[in-house]
C-alpha cells in the first residue's frame, strides 16, 4: 500500500496536496467542485486582526505563464473569520491550516493569542511577507531581525500546541539565511515561496496596470525560482520540513518540488485556471510517485539531493 501521509512539524496530513493561502476563497467556493476533506489541508487566506478592504482595482494582470496580483489581504478580520469560516470548514471534515498576517509584531502576537484557543486547526501558517507599518512598509520576511521578531511573537503567544509554518518571500539576497533565522526563532516548518515582486505597465494607458503599482508574481513562470529556494533551504537545513509552492500545475510539478525538499505542496494560481486542479494534481502526484518506485511520499522528499555516487 502506497503511503501518502506527510507531516509539517507535529502536524499530520493524509496527503501532501494543500490549497495555497489566498487562492481558495473561504473554501465554500471550491467545495462546489470537490470535497474539501480530500485535500491534505485547506490553507486559509491570510487573516489579519481587523476587517480589511484590500487594494483598489485593477488588482491583477496576466503575464507570460503567470499573473500579478495585489489583493492587499482583503478579509473580514480574525473575529468574524473564527466565527464564520472555521466552524464551516470543520464541518466539512477539512484539515485546516490557518494563515495569519500582521502589520506589526504586536499584531502577530495578538493573532497568535486568538488562535490559541481554537480547536480543529492543524497548524498556523505565518505569512511574514507583508509590509511592516512600523518599518517604512518594509516586508517582515525581507530582513532577518523583523522576520525573527514576528515569528518569536507568534511562538511566545501560541502556546506549545500548534505547529508554526513561517512563510517566506523569495525577494531576498539569501533565503536560506532568513530561513535559519525564523527556525531559530521557533518556526517548526517553512512555507516556500510567496509571490515574487513584479510590475506590469499597460502600454495603452502607459501607467502601471495595477492600482497598487507592484504586485506578486505567481504561476508556472516562478516555478524554477520556487524549486531553487526549496532546494537551497533543504540543503541548509535538511531536518526542517518545507511546505512548497510556486507554479505547481501538475503532478509532475508537485513531484519536482518534493524532490527538491518539500514535504507538502500548496496549489495557488493553478486553481484559477482549473477549479479542481488540486484533486487532479493529487492524483497525478500519487501516480508519479508510484511509477518511480516509491512506496511512500516520505522517501521522495529531497531525493534530488542524494550524492552523485547514488546515480
Amino acid at each position: 500500500m502506497f503511503n501518502f501521509k506527510t507531516n509539517l512539524g507535529e502536524a499530520q496530513f493524509d496527503n501532501p496536496i494543500f490549497t495555497a493561502s489566498g487562492c481558495a476563497g473561504s473554501g465554500r467556493e471550491l467545495s462546489q467542485f470537490f470535497e474539501l476533506s480530500e485535500l491534505g489541508a485547506v490553507v486559509t487566506k491570510s487573516i489579519m486582526l481587523k476587517p480589511r478592504s484590500g487594494r483598489a482595482t485593477p488588482r491583477m494582470a496576466e503575464t507570460p505563464s503567470g499573473m500579478l496580483n495585489s489583493i492587499g489581504l482583503q478579509g473580514p478580520g480574525i473575529d468574524l473569520f473564527l466565527e464564520k469560516d472555521i466552524p464551516w470548514l470543520r464541518d466539512q471534515g477539512a484539515n485546516i491550516v490557518v494563515s495569519i498576517a500582521g502589520e506589526s509584531v504586536e499584531d502577530y502576537a495578538v493573532l497568535a493569542r486568538k488562535m490559541r484557543a481554537v480547536s480543529g486547526i492543524s497548524a498556523l501558517e505565518v505569512n511574514i511577507s507583508c509590509p511592516n507599518v512600523e518599518n517604512r512598509g518594509q516586508v517582515f520576511a525581507c530582513h532577518p531581525q523583523t522576520a525573527r521578531a514576528a515569528i518569536e511573537a507568534v511562538r511566545r503567544n501560541i502556546g506549545g500546541e500548534l505547529p508554526i509554518i513561517a512563510k517566506l518571500t523569495p525577494d531576498v539576497t539569501s533565503i536560506a539565511a532568513i530561513a535559519e533565522e525564523v527556525v531559530a526563532a521557533g518556526a517548526d516548518a517553512l512555507a516556500l515561496i510567496n509571490t515574487v515582486l513584479g510590475m506590469v505597465i499597460d502600454t495603452n494607458t502607459m501607467r502601471p496596470k495595477l492600482a497598487g503599482k507592484t504586485g506578486g508574481l505567481s504561476g508556472p513562470a516562478i516555478r524554477p525560482i520556487a524549486v531553487r529556494a526549496i532546494y537551497q533551504v533543504h540543503e541548509a537545513m535538511p531536518h526542517v520540513k518545507i511546505l512548497g509552492m510556486g507554479g505547481v500545475a501538475s503532478g509532475r510539478d508537485a513531484f519536482e518540488l518534493i524532490l527538491a525538499g518539500a514535504s507538502a505542496v500548496s496549489i495557488g494560481t493553478a486553481t484559477f485556471g482549473d477549479p479542481s486542479a488540486v484533486i487532479r494534481i493529487k492524483n497525478e502526484l500519487q501516480a508519479e510517485l508510484i511509477a518511480h518506485g516509491f512506496d511512500s511520499l516520505r522517501e521522495a522528499v529531497g531525493y534530488a539531493h542524494r550524492s552523485e555516487g547514488n546515480l
Partner: protein, 285 residues
C-alpha cells in the same frame, strides 16, 4: 456574501459553430445540461490557448443565449470581440474543437413578477445577454424597448431574430455609420419618458453603465447592470474582480463581481472607484 452559482459545472465543450458577425464572432458550444441552468446575465469562463499556453487564466464571456435540448443537445452561445491574445485565440478555433468551459457563473438579471416596461441598453458586445433577457421579459408580458450603441456600425451586435424580440430598437453610433449619431445616453431620457420605463437593464463598458445610472437615478428608474471587472478565476476564490458595493445594511464592501455580480443594482455601486478604495469602505484604512 453569496456562494458560487450552485449549478456551475466544468466541462470540455465542443464548438458547434463559429461565425464572424460584424466585428464579433458568434460561437455556439454543445454544453448538455448546462443550457438548462443558465439565466440571462450569467457568464461562462473559458480556458484559452490550448495545452502549453502561456495564458494561465480563463476568459469570461456573457452568455448570449442557450437552447435547452436535454443533456445531449444543450447549446450555449456567446459573442466574442477579438481583442487581445485570449479572445483572438478563441475566435480562431474551428467547429469540432473542444474548449474547457465553466458555466453558468455569476448572478442573473432580476425578473420582475409583474409585467413592467423595460428598457434594455447595450454597448458593443454588451448587447449579447440582453436578447435572452428580452425573451424572458416578453414571456412575462413586459414591454421591451432596446437601445444599442457602439463606436461604429460594425460593433453593433443585433441579429435579426434578436431585433424581432423587442418592441422597439434604437441604434446609436459615435461615427454615425448606422442609426443616431452620438452616445446611447443621448437618447435615454427621451425613451424613458415617452415609454414610461419602469426598469433599465444595461450591459457594456463601465463608463457607459455609470452614465446610464446617473440618468436612471435622476428619473427615478430602477437600474440593473452587468459590470465587467478583470477576473482571474471567475469562481470567487481569487478576490481580483472586486468593486465597492453598498449592501442593504448601508455598508460599502469590496464585493466579487464574479459571485455577487456581474448583475448588480446600479445604485448599489460606488461608481468611479477605479484605482481608489472609496472612503468608508468596510476595512479601508
Amino acid at each position: 456574501m453569496m456562494g458560487i452559482n450552485k449549478n456551475a459545472t466544468q466541462m470540455m465543450a465542443e464548438i458547434v459553430s463559429n461565425k464572424r458577425v460584424g466585428a464579433y464572432n458568434h460561437i455556439v458550444f454543445a454544453v448538455g445540461d448546462i443550457a438548462s441552468h443558465a439565466k440571462p446575465g450569467n457568464f461562462v469562463a473559458i480556458a484559452v490557448g490550448g495545452p502549453n499556453s502561456a495564458m494561465v487564466l480563463r476568459r469570461a464571456f456573457a452568455i448570449y443565449r442557450t437552447f435547452d435540448k436535454g443533456s445531449n443537445g444543450g447549446l450555449l452561445e456567446i459573442v466574442v470581440a477579438p481583442h487581445g491574445a485570449g479572445s483572438t485565440w478563441l475566435t480562431n478555433q474551428l467547429p469540432g474543437f473542444k474548449v474547457d468551459l465553466i458555466a453558468p457563473l455569476g448572478t442573473a438579471f432580476g425578473i420582475p413578477t409583474e409585467p413592467v416596461r423595460a428598457l434594455l441598453v447595450g454597448g458593443g458586445y454588451g448587447s449579447a445577454p440582453l436578447f435572452g433577457l428580452s425573451e424572458v421579459l416578453k414571456n412575462r408580458g413586459c414591454r421591451v424597448d432596446m437601445v444599442l450603441g457602439a463606436s461604429t456600425a460594425m460593433k453593433i451586435y443585433a441579429p435579426l431574430d434578436g431585433k424581432r424580440s423587442v418592441n422597439s430598437l434604437t441604434t446609436v453610433t459615435e461615427d454615425g455609420t448606422t442609426g443616431i449619431t452620438g452616445k446611447v445616453t443621448d437618447v435615454l431620457a427621451d425613451i424613458i419618458e415617452t415609454n414610461q420605463i419602469d426598469i433599465i437593464y444595461s450591459c457594456g463598458p463601465m463608463g457607459m453603465l455609470e452614465a446610464i445610472n446617473v440618468i436612471a437615478e435622476r428619473l427615478g428608474v430602477v437600474h440593473q447592470c452587468a459590470i465587467e471587472e478583470a477576473m482571474a478565476c471567475g469562481i470567487g476564490v481569487c478576490m481580483t474582480c472586486v468593486l465597492p458595493i453598498r449592501g442593504e445594511d448601508g455598508v460599502v464592501r469590496m464585493l466579487r463581481s464574479c459571485i455577487d455580480g456581474p448583475v448588480v443594482d446600479g445604485d448599489s455601486v460606488i461608481w468611479g472607484a477605479k484605482r481608489v478604495i472609496p472612503e468608508g469602505t468596510w476595512g479601508a484604512h
